[in-house]
């Protein structure tokens, strides 16, 4: 049975790799487009089936299963191994990853139907590579493998954000995403290297065992967990490294749903969940995690309120929710953060795919071009509202239980400040999400957008109503999953590691509902004018429109710091370091010219020199006597 599960996981991993290699290495398949998509479907469905079967085989409270193979040799045993670690966390996470990936791949076929076949083939090659790498992160039994797959998902993100690489914004956003996350990854790499010297292993189970049996000195551990957290900060878009995620929306919307909402961005949270036992030893770093998480949640929620691009609202909302997860972990309850990760993955993918359907029909990302779409596309509207209710934390929906769990955890951890920030963010979340719902689905209908977005091409459906089965199918699957999760938690209240005060649930519900009510007053009834609301929060609004100047600061560091320093060093190398050398060689050449003049060719000069030399020699020898 144990071997069965390892085989299953290996099958789940290898199917997408095979698909990637096949599509990448066989140009005719790639250029054919749709056949490549079907190869990719087959692979990801295999992975999904394996992940589900693996879940089915997992018993209650069973021991983690680990299998590893040598990867890097060294004297006296391998330095590093590659393998799989199957435990409840990785089992659940695998299902989330493969489920969303499958749905997104199917959805993409219709969403990208106007792409040339070659581009479609490329898209599915990247998708397959992504599924493999993300599963690699999830099942990694050691930190080195986790880091390797972690970087690979970063590359897939880079490639997919830059999928429309002809668009300068997309190329720019891809680089920004790669560099920002890479800056965090430098921290993660340092952390792993430091940890190796301290503990002598990369293996998670061994590390956990060593920590529990106190076999190594935990003195330097604070720096190490901080470094690991830096990696998580970049990947999971924590303040101030969150700047890349909103720009990443330049990628195709299904990519945003898969990578920049449900799976890759949660890798940072997952890393912290996996290494929770290390962080537990360093409470000061955990407190930092909690505070940064809360700052991220509140800041991003504020920014989401002023966005006009529907995808950017969702992107900031993702940043905000990642902040929730991190705060829960920082408060010492990784379980709560992980739960929110899972539910968020489902409903945020739903929201993104729903937004994609809207964008597909309207040919614009801007909410000012949308309105009254409930009548035009009722199915999309219904699933989008289900997702919104989940995100807002309304009872009976998926996000409610997990968000309350997070709030309870933060309170139980004794973080009053972050708790209040999260509560404020919850209010804002309900507000900005229902702003989207009211403006897009219920407001006055807008005339068709004149100039089509370069990537949202005229669709074959003409009427721009509800999308076809390939797009609406995945939407419904996700919506029903969100409802099912919500129902499950309503019936079975999770066995919490902590007790929350009785007032927490009413408070959370009140906050959510009042956010919805404010949005209704402002954008539906228009009792409160949006302009007066905006002017009431004038300075905050202006700061939020400038993204709190964080992007500008990074831009300045890049241009006036790095590039300027590079120009100085480049100049010094050419004109000082190399200049000295050229001076030496110029002197040598000049010296040669001078010496050449001695050879005049006149006999008189030579006789004179000979005589002078003779006199000198005689004087010198005479001195010797």
């Amino acid at each position: 049975m144990m071997n069965d599960r390892v085989t299953l996981i290996l099958l789940a991993l290898l199917a997408p790799v095979a698909s990637f290699l096949l599509i990448a290495a066989v140009p005719p398949l790639r250029r054919a487009g749709r056949p490549a998509a079907f190869v990719s479907f087959a692979a990801v469905l295999t992975s999904l089936a394996s992940a589900l079967r693996n879940w089915q085989l997992s018993g209650e409270g069973s021991e983690p299963i680990r299998a590893a193979w040598d990867w890097l040799p060294a004297q006296g045993g391998p330095l590093a191994t590659m393998g799989v670690l199957i435990d409840p966390q990785s089992t659940l996470m695998l299902i989330l990853v493969t489920l969303v990936a499958t749905l997104v791949q199917i959805y993409s076929l219709e969403y990208l139907h106007t792409e040339p076949p070659g581009a479609l083939g490329r898209y599915y090659a990247y998708q397959s590579l992504f599924v493999f790498s993300m599963m690699g992160v999830v099942i990694a039994p050691n930190l080195l493998q986790l880091f390797i797959c972690w970087e690979l998902v970063g590359v897939c993100s880079f490639l997919l954000i830059g999928f429309w690489y002809r668009k300068p914004e997309a190329a720019r956003a891809a680089l920004k995403a790669f560099w920002t996350t890479k800056a965090g990854d430098v921290g993660l790499l340092i952390g792993i290297v430091l940890l190796y010297r301290l503990a002598g292993t990369f293996d998670l189970l061994q590390l956990k065992h060593s920590i529990e049996s106190h076999t190594f000195e935990t003195a330097g551990l604070g720096l190490i967990t901080f470094c690991l957290y830096l990696g998580a900060m970049g990947k999971s878009a924590q303040f101030p490294l969150h700047v890349w995620l909103p720009d990443a929306m330049e990628g195709p919307t299904p990519v945003s749903a898969l990578i920049h909402a449900a799976t890759m961005v949660t890798a940072g949270v997952y890393l912290l969940v996996r290494t929770e036992f290390l962080f537990r030893e360093t409470p000061e770093v955990l407190a930092l995690v909690a505070w940064i998480g809360a700052i991220t949640a509140l800041m991003a929620a504020t920014l989401a309120c002023v966005q006009t691009d529907i995808k950017r609202v969702l992107a900031y909302s993702t940043v905000s929710q990642l902040g929730y997860m991190m705060t829960a972990i920082g408060a010492g309850f990784a379980g709560a953060g992980f739960l929110h990760l899972l539910t968020h993955g489902v409903f945020k993918a739903l929201l993104f795919l729903g937004a994609g359907a809207v964008i597909h029909a309207v040919h614009s990302n801007e909410m000012k071009d949308m309105g009254g779409l409930f009548k035009r596309m009722p199915q999309v509207a219904i699933v989008f509202i289900i997702g919104t209710l989940s995100l807002a934390g309304v009872p009976l929906f998926a996000g409610f239980a997990s968000k309350e769990e997070v709030l309870g955890a933060v309170l139980a951890g004794g973080f009053m400040g972050p708790f209040l920030m999260l509560l404020t963010a919850a209010f804002l979340t309900a507000f900005y999400m229902f702003r989207v719902v009211f403006v897009v689905f219920f407001g006055p209908a807008k005339p068709a957008h004149a100039h089509a977005d370069p990537h949202a091409h005229a669709d074959a459906h003409g009427t721009g109503g509800d999308p076809g089965l390939a797009m609406s199918g995945p939407l419904w699957v996700l919506a029903l999953s969100a409802l099912a999760i919500g129902g499950y938690f309503t019936l079975h209240h999770a066995e919490a590691e902590f007790t929350s005060p009785a007032w927490l649930t009413p408070a959370a519900v009140t906050v959510a509902l009042s956010g919805i009510f404010l949005a209704w007053l402002t954008y539906q009834r228009q009792t409160i004018s949006a302009d007066s609301l905006a002017s009431a929060f004038g300075p905050i609004r202006r700061a939020a429109l400038a993204k709190f100047w964080i992007d500008d600061i990074f831009e300045a560091i890049y241009r006036s710091g790095l590039l300027a320093l590079a120009r100085i060093i480049g100049w010094v190398d050419r004109y000082i370091v190399d200049g000295v050398l050229n001076v030496i060689s110029a002197w040598t050449l000049d010296g040669g010219d001078v010496l050449r003049r001695i050879q005049t060719g006149r006999v008189g000069d030579y006789i004179f020199a000979l005589a002078a030399g003779l006199v000198f020699l005689m004087l010198w020898m005479g001195g010797g006597f």
């Binding site: 830059g162 800056a183 790095l562 100049w571 060689s585």
Partner: protein, 511 residues
């Protein structure tokens, strides 16, 4: 007697060069065929060597020996250990790719191929020689043809004189290919002088009876002698490895050299320098190495960061790649200076990884130049639409350069970083990882500028073709190897480790 496989690998390029000069004059296709067949033979031979090497037994294998000048203790003595093994393989790989990359050389093709092959014989010779005298001869063979290759087939650029030393730039002719060739040759010959003095010092100190590396290794030299001889080896070989501040020949030289020469020079010849420091410096004067490791590692850190920043400031594509070599050779030198098993493994692996990566890069730059007739990064744009294959290979090479997992570059850098943190100077880790991050910035910035974004409006850059025919060979071959060694690093690390463990024991640092 065993089959002399090492001699076969070493002398095949030389024989091919002779055949080209004697029989293939004015027959371009014949020249290329002979060159390619010669390089294929060495590739097959090196691959066979790799598989025939007995990992369990380790140490030097495939001995060949016959006396040359017995009275002075000079013998033709060849053998390889784990390091030599992988470096011979690297050389064969780069030569094979390079012989395809120079398919389009137009003028004096036969001389070009002959010199290139001659040079490679020198490189192979250094990696397999166990006799210092013979090693030195091969070293000079590897270095000298470079002057002609650059001065005749190279390309000139323009450098504006600036700064307080500007007056000297006009006098020396900075920017021309003749200048670059002369600078490179003089610098390397200066290095040779240091090496020769070091070798002779050890030879006389050991009683003037043998030049054999194995015999000289057994001699116990005085610490003072070891100290200065190590410095001589470090400076002498270090010039070729591009150590700061003796690196400025490398950007000019590599930028002026024709494609295949840049590939071989940055890909393999720079490794001769690092290999020399490791083999002679660490092997013969271990106490000197222990004494000066702080210097080697600290200068390596300067190389890494300084080289990366210099690369970032360049506007000429070839200069970017050349400066990135300066930066990456820093990782090689850093790895060995850590004096740890992981660090030295990383150092040698980085020689291989960087060799292949930079070979790929120079091949790509050559192709882009051939199609677009430009190396000005900021004039190009949106090339990916027209040349998707070249763009893909460039991005893969870039990923390896910035140390992305899944490519050979990652494992090499990671091992060097592990070693750095375990060494006596753990702060070396931080410049190291900073360099990797800076590489991500300059490599991807260049890739974005050239290949992504909207198509350049320049009329010269319309309808450029992608790579075709034989041009694919070098690209596909090198990309596959980069990924192969990245996914299965044990292919390289296993043989490397056997030699590393041996040298650490020899230095008294073994476990």
């Amino acid at each position: 007697m065993e089959f002399p496989i090492l001699s076969l690998i070493t002398w095949t390029p030389f024989i091919a060069a002779l055949i080209i000069m004697a029989f293939a004059r004015h027959r371009p296709l014949m020249v290329r065929l002979v060159g390619t067949i010669g390089s294929s033979i060495t590739l097959v031979g090196s691959t066979w060597l790799y598989f025939a090497y007995d990992h369990a037994k380790a140490g030097y294998q495939f001995f060949e020996w016959f006396p040359l000048v017995p009275s002075l203790g000079i013998h033709y003595q060849l053998a390889v250990d784990g390091w030599g093994l992988v470096l011979v393989l690297l050389t064969a790989i780069i030569l094979f790719a390079g012989s395809f990359a120079s398919w389009t050389v137009k003028t004096r093709g036969q001389e070009f191929y002959a010199l290139l092959l001659l040079l490679v014989t020198g490189v192979f010779g250094v990696f397999v020689s166990l006799d210092l005298f013979v090693l030195f001869l091969f070293y000079e063979i590897a270095v000298l043809p470079m002057y002609l290759l650059i001065a005749i087939w190279g390309s000139s650029g323009e450098v504006l004189p600036q700064g307080v030393f500007g007056w000297a730039f006009k006098r020396t002719g900075v920017g021309t290919k003749e200048y670059a060739a002369m600078k490179l040759t003089l610098y390397l010959l200066l290095g040779s002088a240091f090496i020769l003095v070091g070798m002779l010092a050890l030879y006389t100190a050991a009683g003037s009876t043998t030049f054999s590396l194995l015999d000289l290794q057994q001699v116990k030299y005085s610490p003072a002698l070891q100290s200065w001889v190590f410095l001589f080896f470090y400076v002498g070989f270090g010039v070729l490895a591009g150590i700061f501040p003796l690196h400025t020949w490398s950007p000019d030289g590599h930028a002026s050299a024709p494609t295949a020469v840049s590939m071989l020079h940055a890909g393999v010849l720079m490794k001769l320098g690092a290999y020399g420091v490791l083999r002679l410096g660490f092997g013969l004067t271990p106490e000197g190495a222990l004494q000066w490791a702080w210097l080697v590692g600290s200068i390596a850190c300067i190389n890494i960061v300084y080289g990366a920043f210099s690369a970032m400031s360049q506007k000429d594509l070839k200069y970017v790649v050349a400066y990135s070599s300066v930066s990456h050779m820093g990782i090689v030198m850093l790895g060995m200076a850590t004096l740890t098993e992981q660090g030295i493994n990383g150092s040698v692996f980085q020689m291989v990884a960087h060799g292949i990566m930079t070979g790929l890069f120079f091949a790509l730059v050559g192709l882009v130049y051939e199609k677009a007739h430009s190396r000005e990064i900021f004039k190009m744009g949106g090339f990916a639409t027209m040349m998707p294959g070249i763009a893909t290979a460039f991005v893969v090479g870039g990923f390896s350069s910035l140390g992305l997992p899944g490519t050979a570059g990652f494992v090499a850098e990671f091992l060097a970083f592990l070693g750095a943190w375990q060494s006596a100077h753990s702060w070396w880790l931080f410049p190291g990882v900073t360099g990797a991050f800076l590489t991500a910035i300059y490599v991807l910035r260049v890739a974005k500028q050239i290949f992504f974004g909207p198509k350049s409006a320049d009329p010269h850059f319309q309808d450029l073709p992608d790579a075709k025919g034989t041009e694919w060979v070098a690209l596909v071959f090198l990309v596959c190897i980069l990924i192969l060694f990245g996914v299965f690093p044990m292919l390289m690390v296993k043989p490397i480790d056997t030699a590393t463990v041996a040298i650490l024991q020899h230095m008294g640092l073994g476990r």
